[in-house]
Amino acid sequence: MEFGWADEDARHRDEILGFLDEVLPGDWEAISKHGPGSDQQAAFSRTFCGEMAARGWLTQHWPEAFGGRDASPWRHAVVGEEMWAIGEPRGAQYMNVNWIGPAIMHFGSDAQKAEHLPRISSGDVLWCQGFSEPEAGSDLAGLRTLAIRDGDDYVVNGTKIWTSYVDNADFIFLLVRTDPDSRRHKGVSVLLCPVDSPGVEVREIPSVVGARYFHEVFFSDARVPASCLLGPEGEGWNVVNYALQYERVGAARYARAARTLDRLAEIARERGLLSDPTVVERLAEARGVCEAARVLTYRVIDERAKGLPPSPHTQLARVAGTRSDTVVANLALDLLGAEAFEYGSYGDANFRLAMTAGVAVGATEVQLNLIASRFLGLPKL
């Protein structure tokens, strides 16, 4: 047991910070405050990821055989922290490099690999995730969208919901039921579906979180070539589980929360609030919550770096990450007061980005269920 950074990873953090300084435009904050799903950020992600790709960094954690550099999960975590902390300039493309690419490497046909991997690693393609449905939220295995084989196509009918990024996306990583008589985890498949397939329609769901956060995607006799099937038919649940183990801890929420907190402390100083022990203690309390999430996340990255199977430490890290976002977002509102009422202000933008943390990518209560059974070994009802 030891907690030091390898020199090369520490150096890489400096490189990344220097790179961000160099390539992020002066109005990056104005771009990023619209959220990662916005048109502005989607467009910028293509430029930005291109720059990362040019330096060999976008997919450096991929195996060499697929154009990566076999960079360690620690190196990958450094990149994830610095990107998320600054507002994720990779936009939706963080998903491509984190788990969509690896899933295609593992399950894809040669043609699929040749089609998708170079585009992902050059940073010029946008993907979105089509899992949730109106009747399948936390209980994803309740999904109903049907894809029935008809000649060289699948004919898809059903509705996906909450789908972030879809309006700017080229492809949707689509979870469907290919066996209409199947139930739960069986008979499910993944399609690498072009968003512009005929019969696919997208509607934005207006939200208080920001523009372009949520969408419904309607499939009405949409025809998707059978060559888009990823992995064997009916094995979709395995594909998703494999893919998501790359996304064990997901976004480095704590890194952004910690960055925000440093800025709040600066604001507090400028306004003479650091002489107020209540403010000082709340800042420190929030810092502890961010640090807690960081170490729990590192615990998971260590497992990943050692090639260990996913463990319930993932759920501990996830809930802790969520908490860091919430605690800091609330503190920001309290500190900034009414000035956060203005749309697009610092407190507002930060709050909106944080407010969904406990629901997105699997709600907290479900994580707590898993901690209770798998980490604490508590009995089932």
Partner: protein, 312 residues
Amino acid sequence: MDFELDTDQQAILDAVGVLLAQYAGPGRAIDLAAGDAYDFDLDAALADAGFTQVAATRGTGPLEAALVTEAVAAAGGMVSFGAAALVATGLGAGDLPGPIAISEARPPGPVRFASHARTLLVLDRKADEARVVALEPGTCAAVRSSFGYPMGRVPDALARSGDALGGGSAARLACWWRLALAAEATGTMAACLDVTTRYLSQRRQFGQAIGSFQAVQHRLAELAIQIEASKWLAREAAFQGAPAEGVATAASYALAAAAQVFAETHQLSGAIGFTREHDLHVFSMRLQTLRIEHGGVGAHRRALSAERWGRA
């Protein structure tokens, strides 16, 4: 970065485990507490095996000392181990005669282990120094306490005496003390959760194990998250040699968690949790001591804030 024990660390904890199985455990703590006693046998066993000096031994350091401190606390060891293995060694004060107690220059109340102590470490913030006071056991009158450790009252004159450890020693003592508190709290909280989880897995009401109710499960899961985080924060700070910001983070986080661990494990244990016939109190009552000592959570938080963002 490596979150698993290496073979040396594993060997240390295995050996400590053998000692603790013999000289610790809640039953022994309950017996000792009945007479306000100190566990001189455990203390000697840990010292003889070299664990008290593990931080100052070649090839091992503060991280190993923190791991042992955590284990001793989790076993309910009635010894002042953190003060010896982390604080005294961290200060480079040599092999001081134990038991060691730590006190503020103007202690606001009884001091943990003072009634048995042969060495008193004094944190004098005003004079900006740490002092070492040698004392005869019994110099500090024993004070009866519900809070899990033998306590003694440190006379004012004694707290003002002693040999100063020199420049910067107050800050260093403050840091190592925070680290010891964080490591002890971590082990103690883990024991509270463990006792409660086991009890609730077998205690049945309404025809079910209480631990199978989701309302109960979620509360225990919340504790598990905070205890795990406390553990890694303390270990990381130990590995780094007790830096001021790191220990203030570890202590403030762990001791804030301690309040919740106390409240929730007692609430969920029902009446039996308050009795001396159930193990929970051995650990839970200690949490309150750890929470209050050295200025409490507020002081740790103010220290963290000052280290990270400076003062007003």
